[in-house]
C-alpha cells in the first residue's frame, strides 16, 4: 500500500500542520487561569478565598493505591469521613511518587481545584516537597502524616500529625502471645527504620508480657511494597513454625492472604484486613485518621489556630484496635482489653526497665522507663530480647 500526495495537497497539509501547531502552542498563556471551559465535575477556578456559597475543598494525596487494604486505605477512610462533612468537597489523587510529581500535584490541587487544605499522606513527601510548596502558597494549609514539624524551622502553614500505633501493636502482641500454640510469632517488616523497629519491639513486648517464652522472627523485605518478597517472607516464616504473623508494610494484603492460605493466624496493620482472612484474623493495629482529619478541617475552616505537631495514641483516639476475630479466646480478649485500658489511663508504660536487646545489652536498667513521647524512642535502633533477627546494616 503506497500513499502519494500531489503538490497542492502537500502544500495544504503542511500549512495546516504549521497553523495547528502554532495555535496549540499559543494556547499556553502565562496566566494561571484556564481558557478551556470547566468540565461538568465542577473544577473550581483559582480562587483561594472561600466564599460562603462555594464548598471548602480539601485535597488528599496518596503514595499508593487507595484500595490497598493498608496505609493508603487508612488515609482514604479518613478522607471519606471528611467528604461526609457538610459543605466540604474533597479531591483525591493516588499513586503519586515522592518526587517533583507530588509538588506539582499539590500546586495543581490548589490552583486548578481551589483546595485550601491539602493532606499529602506519605512520610517522604515532607522534605523537600511540602516545604517547597508551602512556601510558595502561604494561604493553604498542608498537613503531613509523620510528626516531623519543628517550630521555628518550618513554615507556619504546615502541620504535622502522627499516632503512637505501637501501643496498638502492643495490645495485638498480647492477643498473639495468647493465641500462639508454637510460641513462635513472625513479623514481616519493610525497612529497619525507627518507626518499624518500634512496632516490632512493642509487639514482642506485648506478647512476652503474657507469654514469656514467645519469640518473634523478623524478616526485612527492603522496601515498602514488594508483594513477592512479602509472600516469600510469610511462607518461609510459616515453614519455620511460626503460627501468628504480623507485618509493617504499606499493604498487608499479601501477608494476610498468605497466612489465611497457610492456615495460621495473623494480626493486621494500618487498617482492618479481617475480610481477607475470616478465620485467621485476630485483631489489628489500625489508624483512626477520620478523627484527626475531621478535627483539622473543622479548625481550619472556622479559622481557628491548629496545633502544628499533633501526636497521640489510644488515649487520644488516634489509633485503635481492629475488632477481634472469631479465633480470639475470651482470656485473650480480657487481657487485651485490660492492657488497652491501662495504656489509655497511662499506668502501663511499654518501654520500662529492665530491658535488654536481643544481643544481651542492657537498654534500660530497672526503675527507668521511656514514656511514649520520649524523643529517645524516635531514634530506636535495636531489637528487644525475644526478637530473632538482626537489623541489616
Amino acid at each position: 500500500m503506497d500513499i502519494s500526495f500531489p503538490l497542492h495537497l502537500r502544500a495544504t497539509f503542511r500549512f495546516a500542520l504549521t497553523a495547528t501547531l502554532f495555535l496549540l502552542l499559543s494556547q499556553c498563556d502565562k496566566k494561571s487561569g484556564e481558557k478551556a471551559p470547566d468540565d461538568k465535575a465542577g473544577a473550581l477556578g483559582a480562587t483561594t478565598a472561600s466564599a460562603p456559597n462555594k464548598p471548602f475543598v480539601v485535597g488528599f494525596i496518596y503514595v499508593g493505591p487507595k484500595g490497598d487494604y493498608g496505609y493508603n486505605q487508612a488515609h482514604a477512610e479518613g478522607a471519606a469521613a471528611v467528604a461526609a462533612m457538610p459543605g466540604i468537597k474533597i479531591r483525591e489523587e493516588e499513586n503519586v511518587p515522592e518526587t517533583v510529581a507530588v509538588q506539582k500535584t499539590m500546586e495543581s490541587m490548589v490552583e486548578l481545584d481551589g483546595a485550601q487544605v491539602v493532606f499529602p499522606t506519605s512520610f517522604g513527601y515532607f522534605d523537600p516537597h511540602i516545604l517547597k510548596v508551602a512556601e510558595k502558597l502561604p494561604n493553604v494549609s498542608f498537613l503531613h502524616c509523620g510528626g516531623l514539624y519543628q517550630e521555628g524551622k518550618h513554615p507556619k502553614n504546615v502541620g504535622s500529625y502522627f499516632g503512637y500505633i505501637d501501643e496498638a501493636q502492643y495490645v495485638a502482641g498480647i492477643v498473639a502471645g495468647l493465641t500462639t500454640k508454637t510460641g513462635k510469632l513472625g513479623f514481616v517488616a519493610a525497612k529497619p527504620i525507627p518507626q518499624v523497629l518500634r512496632n516490632i519491639n512493642s509487639f514482642t513486648l506485648g506478647a512476652r508480657s503474657v507469654n514469656p517464652k514467645a519469640t518473634t522472627s523478623v524478616v526485612f523485605t527492603g522496601d515498602w511494597s514488594l508483594p513477592v518478597k512479602e509472600a516469600d517472607a510469610a511462607n518461609s516464616l510459616v515453614d519455620q513454625g511460626v503460627d501468628v504473623l504480623t507485618m509493617h508494610v504499606d499493604s498487608p494484603k499479601v501477608v494476610v492472604e498468605t497466612a489465611e492460605r497457610r492456615g495460621v493466624f495473623v494480626t493486621g496493620y494500618h487498617a482492618s484486613q479481617s475480610t481477607l482472612a475470616p478465620k485467621g484474623y485476630l485483631t489489628g493495629a489500625a489508624w483512626n485518621w477520620p478523627k484527626i482529619y475531621t478535627d483539622y478541617v473543622t479548625w481550619i475552616r472556622d479559622g481557628k489556630p491548629y496545633p502544628h505537631l499533633l501526636r497521640g495514641g489510644l488515649k487520644e483516639g488516634f489509633v485503635k484496635l481492629s475488632p477481634y476475630g472469631p479465633a480470639v479466646s475470651a482470656e485473650a480478649r480480657a487481657k487485651a482489653d485490660a492492657a488497652k485500658a491501662k495504656l489509655i489511663e497511662g499506668s502501663l508504660i511499654i518501654y520500662s526497665g529492665p530491658l535488654k536487646d536481643n544481643t544481651g545489652k542492657v537498654l534500660l536498667p530497672a526503675g527507668t522507663d521511656q514514656k511514649q513521647t520520649d524523643i529517645e524512642l524516635e531514634k530506636m535502633h535495636y531489637l528487644v530480647e525475644g526478637v530473632l533477627g538482626k537489623i541489616p546494616s
Binding site: P6, F13, D39, N95, S108, L112, G222
Partner: protein, 380 residues
C-alpha cells in the same frame, strides 16, 4: 528502481526517494498518536467516563495552562536523558535498557562528589557532580557493552540485570554507610547544601535539568550525524559485516557508545538530586529509566525526536492527576494510554518507507506533467 513504463529515474531521484519524506516523519507518528487517543477514548467510555471530557482534561492538565505546561516540562526533563541511554546504543544495533541503574549510580556519585568537593564554588561543584555522575553511569553501561562485545553476553539482559544490582548497591549504601544520621525514617545521604542546588530557569518554574536534556539530545544528534564516530557507529548498526570488513574498531565503538549512553542517564540522576531532592534516597527510584526506554522507542531512536516525545509523555503524566481528580479515572488509566501509544507507534513502523511525496521537490514541475504522472513511478 525502474518503473513498469520503462522510465528510468536518475540517481539523485533514487537517493532522495530512499530518505523519509516530511509527510512520513510527521504524518505517521501524528497519525499513530491520533489512533492511540481514539482507542483510549473507547477504553475510557467503557470505564464510564465521557471521552470528550477526558480529552479536554488531558489537554488542560498537560498543556492547557502555563502551570500545566511547566509541569509537563519538569516531567520531561529526566526522560530526555534516560531516553538517550536507550537511543544512543540503538544506533549500533544494541538494545540497552539499563537507564534506571545508571541514573541511580549517577545520583550516588553526585552526592559523593558534592561532599568531597564541598569547598568548591557553586557552579564548579555542580560541574564536578555532573562529571562524577556521568562517569559512574557511563562506566556501568559500558560494562554491559563490554560484556556484549568481548564475551557476547546479550546486552539487553545484562543491562536489565545491572539495574537490579545498581539499585541494590544504592539502597545498601544509602541506608547504611552513607546514611545521614538525622534522616531517621527516610534514609537519605547528607544533604548537598544550598550552594549546589540546581535552580530554576529564569522566568519559569522548571529546573535547569531540562536544558541539560535538550543540550544532550542535540549533542547526540550532532555526534551521530556529523562526526566520524557517529558515522562509524551507524555503520556498525546498519551492517556489521561491512563495518568489520572496513576495519572499524568495533570494540571501542560499542564501549564508547555505551559509556556515553550511561553518562546521559547518570546526569539525569544528578539533575534529580541537585534540583529536586537535595539528597540521594529511595525516592529517586521511580522508573525514569524505564520510562526513558518507552520514550526512545516512541521516538524511533532519533535523538531530536526524543524531545517532543518526552514532552508528550511528560504531558500525559502531568494530566494523570487531573484525570484522577475530575474524570475519576483510576491512576492506571494513564498507563493504559502509554501502553496503547507504544503498541500503535510500533505498529506504525510498518508504514515506514511507504508514505512518500509524489516526487522530490526539485522536480516538482516535472512531476505534474502527464509523462511522470503514472502512479507506478512511486513503486517501492
Amino acid at each position: 528502481m525502474t518503473t513498469s513504463g520503462g522510465e528510468t529515474t536518475s540517481v539523485g531521484e533514487r537517493l532522495r526517494g530512499l530518505r523519509s519524506s516530511f509527510e512520513e516523519l510527521v504524518l505517521v507518528p501524528a497519525g499513530a498518536v491520533a489512533v492511540s487517543l481514539a482507542i483510549f477514548g473507547a477504553f475510557v467510555t467503557l470505564a464510564g467516563a465521557n471521552p470528550i471530557d477526558v480529552y479536554r482534561e488531558m489537554y488542560r492538565g498537560a498543556f492547557g495552562t502555563w502551570f500545566s505546561f511547566q509541569n509537563a516540562l519538569t516531567r520531561a526533563a529526566p526522560l530526555m536523558l534516560t531516553a538517550l541511554c536507550t537511543a544512543l546504543p540503538a544506533h549500533l544495533g544494541l538494545v540497552i535498557i539499563g537507564g534506571e541503574g545508571a541514573l541511580v549510580l549517577g545520583a550516588l556519585a553526585a552526592v559523593v562528589a558534592a561532599q568531597a568537593f564541598a569547598f568548591l564554588p557553586g557552579w564548579l561543584g555542580l560541574a564536578s557532580m555532573a562529571v562524577a555522575a556521568a562517569a559512574s553511569g557511563g562506566l556501568w553501561i559500558a560494562l554491559a557493552g563490554a560484556l556484549r562485545t568481548f564475551r557476547g553476553v546479550n546486552e539487553t539482559i545484562s543491562s536489565l540485570l545491572l539495574n537490579y544490582i545498581a539499585i541494590g548497591v544504592f539502597k545498601h549504601l544509602v541506608e547504611g554507610p552513607m546514611r545521614d544520621p538525622a534522616s531517621l525514617n527516610k534514609p537519605s545521604t547528607r544533604p548537598i547544601g544550598d550552594a549546589f542546588t540546581l535552580g530554576s530557569i529564569p522566568g519559569m518554574d522548571v529546573h535547569w535539568g531540562l536544558v541539560y536534556g535538550l543540550v544532550a539530545c542535540v549533542g547526540v544528534y550532532v555526534l551521530m550525524r556529523r562526526t566520524v564516530f557517529g558515522f562509524s557507529a551507524r555503520i556498525v548498526g546498519g551492517n556489521l559485516r561491512a563495518a568489520l570488513l572496513s576495519g572499524l574498531p568495533l570494540h571501542k565503538l560499542v564501549v564508547a557508545a555505551c559509556f556515553l549512553a550511561g553518562a546521559a542517564a547518570g546526569v539525569a540522576g544528578m539533575a534529580e538530586v541537585a534540583a529536586i531532592h537535595g539528597t540521594a534516597n529511595a525516592s529517586l527510584i521511580v522508573g525514569y529509566g524505564y520510562a526513558g526506554i518507552l520514550v526512545a522507542f516512541l521516538a524511533r531512536q532519533h535523538p531530536l525526536a526524543i524531545i517532543p516525545v518526552s514532552l508528550l509523555l511528560g504531558g500525559i503524566g502531568a494530566s494523570s492527576g487531573l484525570l484522577q481528580r475530575t474524570a475519576h479515572l483510576p491512576d492506571a488509566a494513564v498507563n493504559v494510554l502509554q501502553g496503547i501509544l507504544f503498541v500503535v507507534i510500533l505498529a506504525s513502523e510498518t508504514l515506514r518507507g511507504r508514505v512518500r511525496s509524489r516526487a522530490p521537490r526539485a522536480l516538482a514541475l516535472v512531476a505534474d506533467s502527464p509523462a511522470a504522472s503514472a502512479e507506478t513511478t512511486e513503486a517501492a
